[in-house]
């Protein structure tokens, strides 16, 4: 045991001495949380749109003014003719063009019907759709104003309650996501690399012939990363709370337990990767190329899983990050307890056991 | 008999922060000799050697190698020297032949030259059967012989060997020294660091370093006489006592 503690201490020194890595390890979550909180949203504001006004009458001017006044849009360019629409959109700065037909006001007056074409750059379908919807609602608003006198016969009004996140803060979704991605990658990548590094440099053999048992060697190598990951998780939670008022509704104890469980899952995945790779390069590429995108994309971090095609929804089940995000959101935002999260917890436990058993098996095969 | 200076070192010093790894050393090496650089681990041998081959800048002092100033004509110096480092430094994941091709190529040998030389090299080491095997699969002793031969591909005037025989058995070491002698007979100057005292006996002249300074420099015979002992081990022990 004394020997083991000495070994762990050596590993700690080894890691903490590397100032550059330490800086990144703690800089990373801070930068990411701040970026997500302040910079990255799907909301639209100040989108540049252009106008092709074939009518230039009072009515179109009023509408243009209204659109320009909204926080969503910024009208800077005027398109002179239909021919120029294409060139303007190809430049890429302008995301939509509104085309008013000629004699707009007159048509409204006489025929009670006038057309506005909303041409959007739908290379980004999501933004295009949102722009289109916003413009339409501004137009509708204007129309209602014009129709003030006409009575609308039946009306069902809706009272919407946004549960758990009434202000629709994007951060509430991103904090658990960032935490998951960072814990997953730091734990899996760092352990797999540090173990294969010993293999590559030949020092693993020296450790294995030492009186330390193989599992002690592995635990000793992994232990500092558990510690680092816990600190990382704390930094993220504190930052989320202080800067973005991200609440923790549920039990702190449960949160701590689940976080450690997830860290261990990720570490055991890292160990598994290290048993199948011979060089650091391979270990790194597996954990970076293999884990980064799937964890970001299939964990409900950015994209909702329920909207994905069915096969992908099945695949997402094998991503530990997905389950951890469910757990985090449950505890932090909904304040639910283990009675709601036992399934996810069991799945993470199961995955951890699976990774460890597989690693031990692989390891034994190599020794024989 | 050997009088033409091929390496000349004046007041060379290297500091890492506060720590002085090499303290103001000066010496000359003559053409064609086997010059041994002895000392315990950490005595400053490797650091001194790295300054001579132009991969480490001296804090002060100057040196010429093959008549060229190392500080200003570094890249020219590199053409006339060969180097074999302490850490085994061929590519493990390339075959013997591929390693020869690569190093021959980056020294600017022509394709014909490379072909001839690699044939001769492989034959002289008796590696015909292994030439298409990965270097990784060779025993350490063979790897070292191969690395030595490859460092001679471009026919350097001087070859620097940094602890070339670390970690192998005495027989293999003996074989390695036979290669060194053969090369020295061709007129190549050999500059070799080692901490094996028996290897010091093989050198024409040796310098003994301790804590960054040269404590003694002469032929093994004269050193033994001077320190009144019958082996280099004895010389070394007496020197070590003096330092303390």
């Amino acid at each position: 045991m004394k020997r083991f503690i000495g070994f762990v201490r050596k590993e700690f020194f080894h890691i903490f001495r590397d100032k550059r890595s330490m800086f990144i390890l703690f800089g990373m979550p801070i930068v990411q949380i701040l970026l997500f909180g302040f910079a990255i949203t799907n909301e639209i504001n100040n989108v540049e749109i252009a106008i092709l006004d074939n009518s230039k009458d009072n009515e179109t001017r009023k509408i243009i003014q209204k659109i320009n006044a909204s926080p969503y849009f910024n009208i800077e360019t005027e398109v002179l003719s239909e021919k120029h629409i294409e060139t303007v959109l190809k430049k890429g700065k302008v995301k939509a063009i509104l085309v008013f037909e000629s004699n707009f006001a007159e048509k409204l007056e006489i025929k009670k019907l006038a057309n506005v074409q909303i041409i959007t750059d739908a290379t980004d379908p999501n933004t295009a759709n949102t722009i289109s919807n916003y413009v339409q609602s501004i137009l509708q608003n204007h129309q209602q104003l014009l129709n003030k006198n006409a009575r609308i016969p039946y009306q069902i009004s809706v009272q919407t309650q946004l549960q758990y996140n009434p202000e629709l803060k994007g951060v509430f979704n991103f904090v658990p996501g960032v935490m998951t991605v960072i814990l997953m990658l730091v734990s899996a990548m760092m352990t797999s690399i540090s173990i294969t590094r010993e293999k590559e440099l030949g020092t693993m053999e020296i450790l294995l012939v030492s009186p330390l048992k193989p599992f002690q060697v592995i635990i000793g190598k992994v232990f500092p990363y558990i510690f680092l990951s816990i600190i990382n998780a704390l930094v993220i939670l504190v930052l989320g709370f202080l800067v973005f008022e991200m609440p923790i509704e549920g039990s702190y104890l449960l949160l701590a337990f689940e976080t450690i469980l997830f860290i261990v899952t990720a570490l055991s995945l890292g160990i598994l990767i290290s048993t199948i790779s011979q060089t650091q390069q391979t270990a790194m590429m597996i954990s970076l190329m293999g884990l980064m995108l799937p964890v970001i994309l299939l964990s409900e971090f950015i994209f909702p899983i329920s909207s994905m095609p069915l096969p992908l929804q099945y695949i997402s089940n094998i991503i530990p990050a997905k389950w951890f995000i469910v757990i985090l959101k449950g505890i932090m935002l909904k304040g639910v307890g283990l009675q709601f999260l036992w399934k996810e917890t069991l799945i993470l436990l199961g995955m951890t056991v699976f990774f460890i058993v597989l690693s031990v098996k692989k390891y034994k095969i190599r020794l024989e | 008999m050997k009088t033409e200076k091929i390496i000349s070192v004046q007041n060379l010093t290297k500091m890492f922060g506060d720590f002085t790894a090499v303290k103001n050393i000066s010496f000359d090496v003559y053409k064609g000799e086997i010059f041994g650089f002895l000392g315990a681990n950490g005595a400053g041998k490797t650091t001194a050697m790295k300054m001579l081959i132009g991969i480490s800048k001296p804090t002060s002092g100057s040196s010429t190698v093959a008549g060229l100033d190392v500080a200003t004509q570094t890249e020219k110096v590199k053409k006339s020297i060969g180097y074999m480092s302490q850490r085994f430094s061929l590519y493990d994941d390339l075959t013997i032949r591929e390693n020869i091709n690569f190093f021959g190529g980056i020294y600017g040998l022509s394709r014909d030259q490379i072909r001839q030389k690699s044939a001769r090299l492989i034959e002289s080491l008796g590696l015909q059967k292994e030439s298409k095997k990965l270097v990784k699969s060779l025993p350490l002793g063979w790897k070292q012989k191969l690395a030595f031969s490859i460092s001679l591909l471009h026919e350097p005037k001087i070859v620097f060997l940094d602890e070339p025989t670390g970690g192998v058995d005495p027989i293999t070491r003996r074989q390695f020294w036979e290669l060194i002698y053969a090369e020295a007979d061709k007129g190549t100057t050999i500059f070799v660091t080692t901490h094996y005292m028996d290897e010091a006996e093989y050198c024409d002249r040796v310098s003994i370093m301790a804590e960054g300074e040269i404590e003694a420099l002469d032929s093994p015979k004269k050193l033994k006489k001077q320190y009144n002992t019958n082996s280099m081990d004895g010389v070394f022990l007496k020197l070590a006592r003096n330092v303390e």
Binding site: G92, I119, D124, Q163, Y164, L168, L297, L312 | I55
Partner: protein
């Protein structure tokens, strides 16, 4: 030139000899392109919808059937009480709860006005916002439907003025999200592979000791670096080619613009990324460190690239920061050229920025690579 060719040859030999790395370099990215492009969608579909019908009239059932008919909603079950529904939402089994009050139909007929309550799980704010739009849309339609069927005889209503908005979605009229994401993910994969491999490359030779052997040879810094970069440059171009083929054949992503332009841009872009990788490599002692830095940069680059979330939505300071992000330009250009058919003139700004970056980065890489220390 000959000396460079020896280094190139050696790097290729090493790449192709490493059996563990080959699939990671070639297969893994392509599988990810195939699979993950399907995952990156902001379409909100299959919304888990449930309701509490306290009214149980034809009007309330009519409303529910509208939700059933919608493609966006999966109508799961109805709950008999709000408590049960809330529990289901806590468990995550339900996204939206529609609560229809008692006397819904009666109020509507009598007062021409009735209220509904909708509860949305808003943890994912963006998703909840879209769900709300859909819900309101259905209810608005139902309103109109009611008006049409119940008020035929109502002559009081004057013919209203109507501004007809005609949306036209250019370049992607079916609003297919894959068309948008596939080129973007391809950009990511090309960047990741080239950055990670070049970032590890020189530091790897440092770690195993062969770099010292190279440094005592008379080889020039620029020769060595060009020789090192070239193989990865080729790898990146090959990856791009295969990716484009997959985009075209599997995802039917249109390639409206000039393929040549994409290649020209990519050629310069990869040089920039490789320069960055080497720069990292020069400043680190171990592969672990190098990878860590590369990863850190990569994550920030991805998030600030406009790939998943639009740059226009960022605050001005963040938009300015993205100007330093190479991925931003590549994502922009590949989408412009592939989807809109933008030409050389349209992308000349991005191309010049990338070219300047590439020169600066490679200059720094050569400068910071020291044969002597």
């Amino acid at each position: 030139m000959r000396i460079i060719s020896y280094i190139v040859q050696k790097e290729f030999l090493q790449i192709f000899r490493n059996k563990a790395m080959l699939p990671i370099i070639f297969v893994l990215p392509l599988i990810q392109l195939l699979i993950l492009s399907n995952a990156a969608t902001f379409d909100v579909k299959n919304i888990k919808f449930s309701f509490i019908d306290n009214d149980r009239t034809s009007t309330s059932r009519g409303l529910i059937s509208k939700f059933e008919a919608s493609n966006y909603f999966d109508v799961l079950e109805h709950f008999t009480s709000k408590e049960l529904a809330d529990q289901a939402m806590e468990k995550g089994a339900v996204d939206v709860i529609l609560d229809i009050p008692r006397h819904f139909e009666r109020d509507l007929v009598k007062n021409k006005k009735a209220e509904l309550a909708v509860y949305t799980n808003a943890i994912d704010g963006a998703k909840a916002g879209i769900e709300n739009v859909y819900i309101n849309q259905i209810i608005r339609e139902y309103n109109q439907h009611l008006s049409a069927s119940l008020s035929l005889t109502d002559h009081q209503v004057a013919r209203p003025i109507n501004i007809l908005a005609i949306p036209a979605f250019w370049y992607n009229n079916t609003l297919n999200y894959k068309t948008f994401m596939v080129p973007g993910i391809l950009v990511l994969l090309v960047t990741m592979i080239t950055l990670f491999l070049s970032g590890m490359n020189i530091v790897r030779e440092k770690e195993i000791g062969t770099l010292e052997q190279i440094n005592v040879t008379p080889i020039r810094k620029s020769q060595f670096i060009i020789g090192k970069l070239f193989p990865f440059w080729v790898l990146g171009m090959v990856l791009l080619t295969v990716g484009l083929v997959i985009a075209k054949i599997v995802f039917s992503v249109p390639i409206v613009g000039s393929i040549g332009l994409i290649y020209v841009f990519t050629a310069v872009y990869i040089l920039l990324i490789l320069g960055l990788g080497l720069f990292i490599s020069n400043f680190t002692e171990t592969q672990q460190q190098a990878m860590f830095i590369a990863w850190f940069l990569m994550v920030i680059f991805i998030l600030m690239s406009g790939l998943f979330t639009p740059i226009e939505s960022m605050p001005p300071w963040a938009q300015k920061l993205t100007l330093l992000n190479p991925i931003r330009y590549y994502v922009e250009v590949i989408r412009m050229v592939m989807l809109k058919g933008s030409g050389f003139i349209d992308v000349i700004y991005q191309l010049s920025v990338i070219t300047v970056f590439a020169f600066v980065m490679n200059g720094l890489a050569v400068w910071s690579y020291k044969k002597t220390n």
